[in-house]
Structure formats: C-alpha cells, structure tokens
Symmetry: C2
Subunit: 482 residues, 2 copies
C-alpha cells in the first residue's frame, strides 16, 4: 500500500504526458519496472485488466471455433531461418538461449518473437483431408522482441503478453472471412468493452507482416495525437502453407494447398485504455473491465457509525448479489477524503457516499469517475440504478474518445498541408496516395509520421497523391505512431 505522499499524480497529462503515464501506471499499482531494462512486473491491478480482456476475447474465440493450445517458448534457429528464407525482410531481433545448464547448445534457441515458424509445421502434420479444415489454434502467452527502446509499460517492453491465433482453411474465401471475423472481434472488444472506438483498415503493401498477403489493422488515437496499432489480423495467402507444406486432399482426392491466417492482440490494449481515459487524478477505467465497479465510502461520526455501516453493508450486499463488483471501504484508519483520492487514483468508475443523511433519506449519493458528476438516488432498486450509472459512465468515456478521434481525422491535399496539419494537430491526415513507399518516406523523414492505414476497397478521396501529385491509388491515413 502506498504512503500518503505517494498517492497523488504530480505530473500533468497535457503537458508531461510521458511522466504522467508512468506515474499513473505505478501509483495505481498496475505495474512496476523490472530490474532489466525493457521488462515490467505486472501487478494484480494491471493483470486483472488483462484477465478481463482475456475473458471477453477467449469466449468469442471459442464460440467461433478456436481452440487454445500451447507451443514451446523456444524456436530452433534453423526454424526461424526457414521463415527468413521464404519471407524476405524477416529478421527478428530476438533473445537467444545459447546455454542449457553448464553446456553450450548445439543449436541456438530463440525465445519466440511470434510463433508462425513453430506452429505452421505442426498444422501441416495435422491437416490431411478437407475434413480437417478449418483448423484454428490460439495461444495466450508472452513473446520477446529485443528492440532497444525506452521502456514504456504495456506500450514498449521487450517481453509482452498477447494472444496469437493461427488458422488454416480450404481456400482464399474462407481464409479471408476468418481474417475479417477476427478483426470484427477485436473491433467489438475496443468498441463495446474498452470504450476506444478504433479506425479500421489495412497496412500498406510495404508495411505488411512479412509473408502476408494482406495485413489488416485497428488503429486507436491516443490523447497525444499518436496512433496505436491496436490489433492485427493477417491473411497469409498460401505463402506459409507452401513453405511448410500444408496440403490436403479435397472431396475429389486432389491435393490442394491450404490458405492460412494469423491474428493477435497484445497488452498494448491496456496501454491504450490507461493513456486515453485516465486524468490528472489517476486511473480511469471503463466499468466493463474495472475490477471494482463501485466503491462505497461510508461517512460517519462516532454516534452514527453503526447505522451508517449497517446501511452501507446492506447496499454492498445487494449490489454484490446482483453481480456488480462492489467494495465497501470500511477502514477505520482512513478518513473519507483520503479514500476518495485513493479510489480515484485506482480508477473505480462509480463512488457511493453514504452518511447519516443518506440513511435518513433512504438514498445513496453517487459520484462518477472521471467527471465528478453527482446524483442522489433512492435506496430502492439500487442495483438497477447502479447499472444505469455504470452504463452512463461507459457512454461518457466512449463519447469522449469518439469525439477525440473524429475531430482528429483531417484531409490534406499537398505535402505542405500533410506536414503542417500533423505538425500542428497530430492525429490522422487522410490524403490521396499513389501507393509508393517513396512518398511515405518523404513524410516520415521530415516528421516521423507514416501511413498507419489504408481503407479497404473505397475509391481514393482525391484523384492525385498528396505527396507526389501522381495519380492516387487509394486513400492513406498518415499519423505519428507508437
């Protein structure tokens, strides 16, 4: 438990975003830094958020034919090499295990950076007939990528938690449907659970997952104007299936090559939640994933203690019985003001204040996080009223995030306009694009903004490329990116 002086956030979200974020993460007890740079310790309050995401996604996955599995955390160098051979540009920065006990290994083992190269050969073994398809496996695990960057909990860490799904299908159409289904599920997670409405599209050709036919993406805009790649789903075509020989006999006993997909979501989702919703008082969480949705703070004097606590406990038990995650903070050694601050810091979405007046009037005083809106509600049907308040708090968070996103998609028709608009406002700038990496590089070199997504099939918004002026192939969304 923190000391009193540790409780407050001392940096401003608007002006010292990096420091503010680091303080929210640590003081709300979500994570601590590990002794090795690039690693973090995910504390129970942080891990509970990941479990909430798992609960939602895992249920949807299983309802749509996915089975969980577990593959080794190590991948022999020759297996990674096989992937490198088929997929130009795949050169992962990985952690290498070179010794087991006191002995040097004959072959180095990579700690998995992603598992295509170890999973695909097994899918190849398991698929014989068209009846074995579709085949869908997923694993929840951690992966390691040895990128030398400053540690930013949940956004930039060498080890991170994620899920990776890998599937094989009869043909392009089935595999494409799978790719879209998983993107739909990720979008549903962000929209209905995390209160973070994403943009949806594809990565440009040169920024696809190595070996993919199409890489689809969700992008979420952060308050500092940068975009986060919030989930990806790859249609891999037959490239992995050909390299690892995933073939099957169809109804006519003809041998055919399967089409595969992979798709993943990492704990960056936690970073996006924390960064977007929280404020200078600390963590703000959507009620959907908050470990405690309601905290009851009783306010008493010595002569009213018993009746106030009794009334508060009745309400706590009624909410709990209705399935609402509620905590009654009945600590004697802390005053109400301290408790208000502590639970604001820790991100409880709704606070009930209960004193002698509430007991007498058979009411509860309700306070929303983060905007402090208050209401006096009758004791009767308190569980139902509470649900409405939780829905209202969710709707507020969603509306704010949606407004921020919508206000920060701007059009530009020239290089100067692209540079100027992103330089001034951040956010997304959409423009016509000729499709060449050179035109992206020109923007990237100047302000480190890149094309974070292109819409799927729509006509380009402008006839000509905003950078070079040649004929536009598509619309491109430029943004600075995490």
């Amino acid at each position: 438990m923190s000391n009193e002086q540790d409780l407050g956030i001392t940096a401003s979200k608007e002006h010292e975003t990096g420091d503010w974020y680091a303080q929210v993460v640590q003081k709300a007890e979500l994570a601590d830094y590990a002794p090795m740079g690039g690693f973090i310790v995910t504390r129970p309050r942080g891990y509970a958020l990941w479990e909430a995401i798992q609960d939602h996604l895992d249920g949807w996955f299983k309802d749509s034919g996915v089975q969980n599995a577990y593959f080794p955390m190590f991948i022999p160098e020759s297996y990674l090499q096989a992937e490198k051979d088929i997929v130009e540009g795949f050169d992962p920065e990985v952690a290498w295990v070179t010794h087991g006990g006191y002995d040097e290994l004959d072959e180095r083992l990579a700690v998995r950076p992603t598992s295509e190269s170890i999973i695909t050969p097994y899918i190849s073994q398991w698929v014989r007939s068209h009846r074995d398809l579709p085949l869908r496996v997923n694993q929840w695990c951690s992966v390691v990528r040895w990128e030398a960057t400053e540690t930013k909990p949940f956004f930039r860490t060498k080890e991170f938690l994620w899920q990776e799904g890998h599937t094989a299908h009869h043909d392009r159409s089935d595999a494409w449907d799978e790719t879209m289904l998983r993107l739909d599920q990720y979008e549903r997670l962000y929209t209905d659970v995390l209160a973070l409405p994403p943009l949806r599209g594809q990565k440009p050709e040169h920024d696809k997952f190595p070996g993919a036919d199409t890489t689809t993406t969700l992008e979420v805009l952060m308050p500092d104007g940068k975009s986060v790649q919030a989930a990806t789903s790859h249609y891999l075509g037959t490239s992995f299936a050909e390299a690892f020989d995933i073939t099957y006999l169809d109804e006519n006993e003809d041998e055919r090559t399967a089409h595969t997909t992979s798709w993943g979501l990492s704990w960056r989702a936690l970073g996006a939640i924390i960064m977007t919703h929280s404020d200078d008082q600390g963590l703000v969480l959507p009620p959907t994933i908050a470990p405690k949705q309601v905290v009851i703070v009783p306010i008493w004097q010595q002569d009213t203690r018993e009746e106030v606590l009794g009334y508060a406990e009745q309400i706590r038990s009624e909410l709990a019985a209705a399935g609402i995650r509620v905590h009654l903070d009945d600590r004697d050694e802390r005053n109400p003001g301290f408790k208000f601050n502590e639970w604001e810091l820790k991100g409880v979405p709704v606070r009930f204040e209960i004193g002698p007046n509430e007991v007498e009037d058979e009411q509860v005083s309700v306070v929303h996080r983060p905007d402090g809106e208050t209401a006096a509600e009758p004791r009767e049907n308190v569980a139902e009223t509470t649900r409405e308040h939780l829905d209202t708090v969710y709707a507020k968070l969603y509306a704010a995030a949606e407004q921020h996103r919508d206000e920060n998609v701007r059009e530009a028709e020239s290089r100067e306009e692209i540079l100027g608009t992103i330089g001034q406002h951040g956010g997304y700038v959409k423009t016509g694009w000729c499709g060449t990496e050179e035109c992206e590089d020109e923007i990237k070199d100047q302000i480190a903004a890149e094309i974070v997504l292109v819409p799927g099939d729509e006509e380009p918004i402008h006839d000509s490329c905003g950078v070079c002026g040649e004929s536009a192939e598509t619309t491109a969304y430029f943004a600075k990116s995490y």
Copy 2:
C-alpha cells in the same frame, strides 16, 4: 485427423507402459514432440485439460484472497545468485539467454526455473505496514529446467506449465495456515476433480525446497507402482523474507519480519490423470474435466436416417441446454464402429447409441468408458439421468484409483523387507525412520526408491528405524518416484 491405421493403441498398458503412455498422448491428440528434445507441443485436447484444472484452482484461489500477477520470464544471474547465497544447495540447471539481437548481454538472464528470486524483492517493496498483509500473488506461466532426461510428455519436459503462488504473512501461524490451505485446495482438486486420491504429508528435511522450513506434498501412486509428487506447498519461514528484506510495521509501529510461503502445481497433474485412468483402448478422463462428457453416435440405415438423426439432435440439444458438454457425431463418412473406437481413444466418458429401436422405445442406450457397462434409459429426464451416469463414471474411476492406492501401502520393519516389498510390488512401503539421509541413501542406492513423504505429527509406526535399527523419529514412506 488420424488415418484409420493410426487409431488403435498398439502397446499394452501392463507390459509396455512407457510406449503405451506415449501412444495414448499422441493418438488421443493431447501432445506431440517438439523438434528440440525435452519440449512438447500441447495440442487443443491436451490444453483443454489444463484449462479445466485452471478453472477450478483459479476460482478457489481467488475466493481465498489470491490475485494473479505476471513477472518477467527472465531473471538476472545476480538475482539467482542472491538466492544461491542464502540457500545452500540451490543450483538450478537453467536455460541462459546470453544474446539479445546481435549483441552479447552484459549480464546473462536465466529463463525462470521458479520465481522466488524475482518475486520476493517486489513483495518486499509492496509490504510496508501490517495492513498490507497477507499479500498473495499467483502466476500461471511456464518455467524451464534444463534437466537432461528422456522426454515424457507432462511428466518430464524441460519447459512445463504450472502455477506458482507466493505469499507473505504477519507470523508463523498465518503462513502455516496458508501453506495448509493451498495443500487442502490441491487435495480437493485431486479428490473431487481428477479422481486421483493422493497421500498427504511432508518431504524429509534433506529433500525440502531449498530455503524452506517445511515442504508439504501430495503424492499420487501410478499404475506402474511409482509415486508422483502431485503438488507442493512450502512454508518458507523467514529465510526468504530475511534475505530479501520483507519487513513491516506492526500495530505498535515496531518493525517485524514477514513469514512467506510458496506453492505450485504443474501439468504433471495431466500426466497422472492420463497414466492412471487410461487403458489399452486409449484415453480415459473423469467427466469433471472431459472437454466432451457425452458423445451421441446415431446408428441408421438409409430409411431410418432422418428420424434417428432428428431424435439424436433433440437429445443433444436437451443435454446442451442443461450444461452437459455433449457432441453429436453425425458424420456420414464414418460408420458407428469407427466412431465408437475413435471416441474411446479420445476419452469421452459416456457414449449414447441411438438407433431406430431407441427412437421407437423412447430410450437411449448408454455406455460407460472405460468398463463398457451399458444401460437403457428413458428419453424422459435424460439430462438428469445423464448426470447420474457421469457421477457413476467418476465414482468408478475414483474407487479404482483409491483401491490401487490402498492396496499398495505396505509396512516393512527391516532393510530386507523394504527392498523386497518395493522390488516385488512397487507402491509405498512405510516403516520407522531415524531421520538420517544415510538410511534413505542405503535404500536409494540399491533400488532407486526414496522417502517420498513423512506424515506430519503422528507417532512413528515402529519404534526403530527400518534401515539402521536406531530409534525411529517418524514414519517414512519409501517409493520409487517419477
């Protein structure tokens, strides 16, 4: 999907136990061997069993104050060294990460073999006041121990899945209660969920977890007469708290040292289930954890197909609505006999056979796995009847395992008797023991049997040590061990 010729188990459980076990694991699609010796790929049917265990244990843990967290998979060498300094004899064979990307690391990182040395320093930071205690964290993860042994899926693998709980408490009494609570929960899992009644006790002094005051253990007897350590719970006293400085201010503001525990259960539990319950037809699972509890096999001719399938589907949907995990195998391309064999191999506890006779008589034919006992049951209240059958199948598995255990605990009063009894029968031999490692070594050197547990506080069954004849301190259970 297997080809027909792959379906059958071709080794005998009784006579070729090792080969039989390997075939059950692979042919029931629980796991495959990884390309690196010592590693396995856990397939969906195997992983689902681990998820079932997680569901049970994780719920009990959370109901009793445990929170999940996630700590880094790597531990700096100096941290492991710190543990080695306090704990004589701790010399883990670990996998060493020496390079990140193209660079050699300044300090080697061990892939965690267990996490005391990285978790305890954080517990030390998080505990300040008596109000912060008890503090309980758990993580579900994989760990790596670089022991050079033959690979045996779920029993002997370099990487294995487990959970590790780590707690800190005010004093010895609280920490001891915690140690016992977790052992109780493990015992409940084995008894009520896995149909594997364990023996319960402690490890002898010289075989404790390094640094522990007391190591408690559950032991489960395998059909081949060897004992498996099925779970452990350690009361660590103040040794880790002193080494990592877990102190707190008590009610009087005096500084005190916490008492800690750790406890874990690994996927060996899966090995024990498979090994104990399965038979020469393949996998046998307790209905409690079977992914599918009932398979319905329809038996039709062309003219009865429609009515049989319609009736079968009604029953399937009625069972599913009642929460029973049921599968209707309506494949056209397989005959009933093939399906019987396949689902027996894959361990579905109850089979319904439904043909025109069952439709006409408004019945279902029920067949138990593994003993093939059959019953004709009325269509009415079929969900309730099914539950009774599932309970009966569980009770049969439990009774068989209990009988096997009880018949294989024998007494011995001399060295010759100990050696002869274990040599002839396997199983446990209990005898008086003077408490010295030398006496254990004498038995171990001759027949590789060791003391797998000592009861807690009971009086020794004999006055003198079965090995040396000196005065007995306690009873000891000798057995060969996995």
